[in-house]
């Protein structure tokens, strides 16, 4: 894993994001896998809206925005695939929803996603789960003991 940090090269992240948009034999399914793993591996928050794609460190302000470089039909299929991956099937329809996507690993990573996928609006928000601070972790530990 390569967490984003103040020393992390923003240009490198932008270049890596461009690489995500390079086709693989798995088509849109491969693109979604690359996109979600990109968020996990670099601890990034991703927002796609209005044909732009923005990234920033999880929990912080957006760093960079690039144009969504692929046809609208690819974006709509991307969102449809994310809807299919949501672990709460009744919380989403093909058009909108919020849920969680689990990426395999040891341990697995749960990403929070929200999306809209209509003919007039396409939006995606991928967030990593909040990392508990020492204070919240201690509080939870105390609650378990009580």
């Amino acid at each position: 894993m390569t967490p984003a940090s103040p020393s992390c090269d923003r240009l490198a992240i932008a270049e890596l994001l461009q690489k995500v948009f390079t086709p693989t034999p798995q088509g849109v399914v491969g693109l979604v896998e690359e996109l979600l793993e990109f968020c996990r591996d670099h601890q990034l928050h991703l927002k796609i809206q209005d044909n732009s794609c923005a990234v920033g460190p999880a929990g912080e302000a957006i760093w960079d925005t690039i144009a969504w470089p692929l046809p609208k039909s690819v974006l709509r299929a991307t969102l449809a695939r994310i809807a299919a991956l949501c672990v709460q099937p009744n919380a989403v329809t093909p058009y909108r929803g919020e849920g969680e996507v689990t990426l395999p690993g040891n341990p697995p990573t749960v990403l929070q996603v929200a999306f809209t996928n209509t003919p007039t609006e396409q939006r995606l928000d991928v967030r990593l789960p909040a990392v508990p601070t020492d204070d919240t972790a201690n509080h939870e530990h105390r609650s378990e003991e009580s």
Binding site: P23, P25, Q26, G27, V28, V29, L31, L70, P71, S73, V74, A77, A80, R81, A83, A84, P89, V92, T93, P94, Y95, R96
Partner: protein, 85 residues
């Protein structure tokens, strides 16, 4: 459009239809429309982003849509509507 043989990587068609029905509850319920599209038209829709191996056929202008529109009267005429419970 899904290939009838799958794979269904974007949810099974029954689930997709139910999801659409939840979004539009006043449109009579979930159904699947089964169309027999000639292979040569389907092949025009294949691209690097939409290989048939992912079970999805995306007709766009410049990628099979024009050919589908020309063939549409015959394709639609043989359509089958399957109800989804």
């Amino acid at each position: 459009m899904y290939l009838e043989s799958g794979p269904f990587l974007f949810k099974p068609p029954q689930d997709y239809a139910r999801g659409k029905s939840r979004e539009f509850p006043d449109e009579g319920g979930a159904v699947i429309l089964v169309l027999d599209v000639p292979d040569e038209i389907v092949q025009n829709a294949v691209s690097e982003w939409f290989p048939l191996s992912q079970g999805l056929v995306q007709f766009d202008f410049g990628a099979g849509m024009e050919e589908l529109l020309v063939a549409w009267p015959g394709v639609a005429g043989s359509a089958e509507i399957r109800s989804v419970t």
